[in-house]
Point group: C2
Chain length 393, copies 2
């Protein structure tokens, strides 16, 4: 393999800082909600920056901003992330992957590298789903999966900050991402009989509050037994009536589970159903487990993942595969295109917060690994695609 | 022992039904909040009824309504209960004990029984503590304990409906009451760190919600291990922030414990403190157990309790001692006078509800047992009191 081109680290960091000013509040946090003035200014800046670099930049009908070389026939490898944020966000979630993709494309373009003709960058619209009327986010990437342009693309690679503490804990510099957890949310409701907490003996109660507490307390064990890599959270709980001296007659818990495979989510759901049924029976209540939303797990393409892993290992031995516990545009795109991701560490694991931070060294390393992955993927996947095209022609 | 005088069962039931009309809402429930028009009308009716019966009826400065024979020198045995209600109450809580006391006094008065000169009935003001400005209820009985009139009284016996399901479950007709549980309320607060429920692994969380759920779920075991006759209730719980995908950073539980002895309450509190400390440590949170109110347990006077038990057993073999899990005026009075109580069953255990009900047969039996207890207590306690008085004179 020939020596890899090197990204322009100075320009990368300057551009990250520039984008961080667009939509920044007095608190230093970013307010670039999809569709607001700051979000539109950010996408215009991306568009203009790529044009100034001599590239063909364009908006699609959804509001995604794409850039590639002028007059290239494709197929293209797509790289990028999203430019919108949650309210009071950090400056790296999404933005880092967008700027890195811009940097990789510009570097290869400036060097007139063979992959420059087969690379497109994207800034996805409305990943976060905070915008009024958003159907849960991932708007721009979902639109692409139904757009004919997807046929001109042969793979997707997304670079992102981890948004969690695992890499820092394990001392990792880079992590090829094996897939994205599926997420299921549930509403647990229990119905018993409200009663005087003094005069009703334990064995004559129908205490819906105990059903809710026991399920919330057991969730961790249920997840860990079904799949040690899975996680769960009981985030909301309430009793009704809510009084210290009244046995709760009704109770509610909202919880979610995340796992890397849909089979694991199924197993957790079964165990949860069984436990709820057991507890409701013991507490002489009725109870219901209702799935309120379900996002399937994404297992990334073996070939593209393999190339990302290979280039990461070449850059650092502080590298290990990771499952993504947060959702990403890559999850949607993986239903349409061979897809993979790579992560750099998040200091302290903070995200969706102005405490979000990644060391400059890691930001540069991640963008360089993205370039490496682009070149390697081109080397391995393009020849066959181009010869097929010749055959077809 | 001579044959006991018999109460006027017809008058008893008629008066219970009459008082049930005062403050009745369209839903059939009673709204006789201390100090409202219905409560004042009820006490005026009690006052008038006793006057019409030829008795000396009077209000004290607090609003308690007392009645006794005219021109008797005392000492007096006090019997009664409270005439106020919670909102949407049943017609027996308090009212039954008041009417029964009126009936017993009138019966003995009409028969010119020797105990008629040494008996006083009372309708306590504001037991329930619903009245605006009430310091938690028991207002009238608490005032009496600081009133010189208490010096003229030699014992207190209160008849009440059980307000719980134990007697019905065990097939009991009458229950002499050994004492009243002490009640302690606690606020449990846990402080952790709110975090992304997807990206934060279980072993890196400080999940305050788990602390709260685990304490709520464990309370029953803690109570039962410390004292099988104790009970507890986790009635209120909340997580903050409350979102399915956010690890709770703070959480709160309000709970209460009830036991017949203060030592048992102490033991439960210690076990609760230990468990909370263990759980907070395991979940890497800080937690605090704060006692927000404490009512000590009342253990009734052995002699008066013994006489109540004796007369109950003479009336029925479906009779067993019971601990009261609800608070009563007798609890306060027991700090000043030798005190005991007796219960009749509550159908279905309902109370503070328009479903409150006790069979007529049990209402009559209870009032008769109260008369029996009055006569027996007089026989056993009065001679010494009167001879002491002679000695003192």
């Amino acid at each position: 393999m020939a020596a890899m081109p090197e990204i322009n680290a100075e320009r990368l960091l300057k551009d990250i800082n520039h984008l961080a000013q667009i939509g920044a509040g007095a608190d230093g946090a970013i307010y670039r909600i999809a569709g607001n003035d700051a979000d539109m200014a950010a996408r215009d800046w991306i568009d203009k920056t790529m044009r100034v670099s001599g590239l063909h930049s364009y908006y699609d009908a959804t509001g995604n901003v794409f850039a590639r070389r002028l007059n290239t026939p494709g197929p293209w490898l797509l790289i990028g992330s999203h430019s919108d944020t949650v309210p009071a966000a950090g400056h790296l979630d999404g933005a880092y992957g967008v700027i890195a993709a811009m940097e990789v494309l510009r570097t290869l373009h400036e060097l007139d590298h063979p992959m420059a003709d087969h690379l497109e960058s994207v800034a996805w619209f409305d990943e976060e789903g905070v915008m009024e009327g958003s159907g849960g986010g991932l708007t721009g990437s979902t639109a692409l999966t139904q757009n004919p342009h997807a046929e001109d693309l042969f793979a997707y690679i997304e670079l992102h900050v981890e948004q969690g503490p695992r890499m820092e804990r394990d001392g990792l510099d880079l992590a090829p991402v094996t897939g994205i957890v599926g997420v299921r949310r549930y509403s647990v409701t229990a119905q018993g009989q409200a009663n005087h907490a003094g005069t009703t003996p334990f064995d004559m109660r129908q205490d819906a509050g105990r059903v809710a507490s026991r399920v919330a307390a057991e969730l961790k064990n249920i997840c860990q037994e079904a799949d040690p890599a899975s996680i769960g959270n009981a985030g909301v709980i309430s009793f009704d009536p809510a009084a210290a001296n009244v046995v709760p007659g009704a109770a509610r818990v909202e919880l979610e589970i995340r796992a890397g495979k849909n089979e694991a989510l199924d197993a957790i759901e079964r165990a949860l159903t069984d436990f709820l049924s057991l507890v409701a029976n013991e507490e002489e209540c009725t109870a219901k487990l209702e799935c309120t939303s379900a996002k399937p797990a994404a297992v990334f393409d073996e070939r593209v993942y393999g190339m990302v892993e290979e280039v990461c290992r070449r850059r650092t031995d502080k590298c290990a595969p990771l499952l993504s516990y947060a959702g990403h545009d890559a999850s949607v795109i993986s239903t349409r295109l061979p897809t993979a991701m790579l992560f750099v560490p998040s200091t302290g694991g903070f995200s969706h917060s102005n405490r979000e931070h990644t060391a400059d060294g890691h930001l540069v390393l991640g963008a360089q690994a993205l370039l490496d992955a682009v070149v390697r993927t081109g080397e391995l996947m393009l020849p066959r695609l181009l010869s097929n095209e010749l055959v077809a022609a």
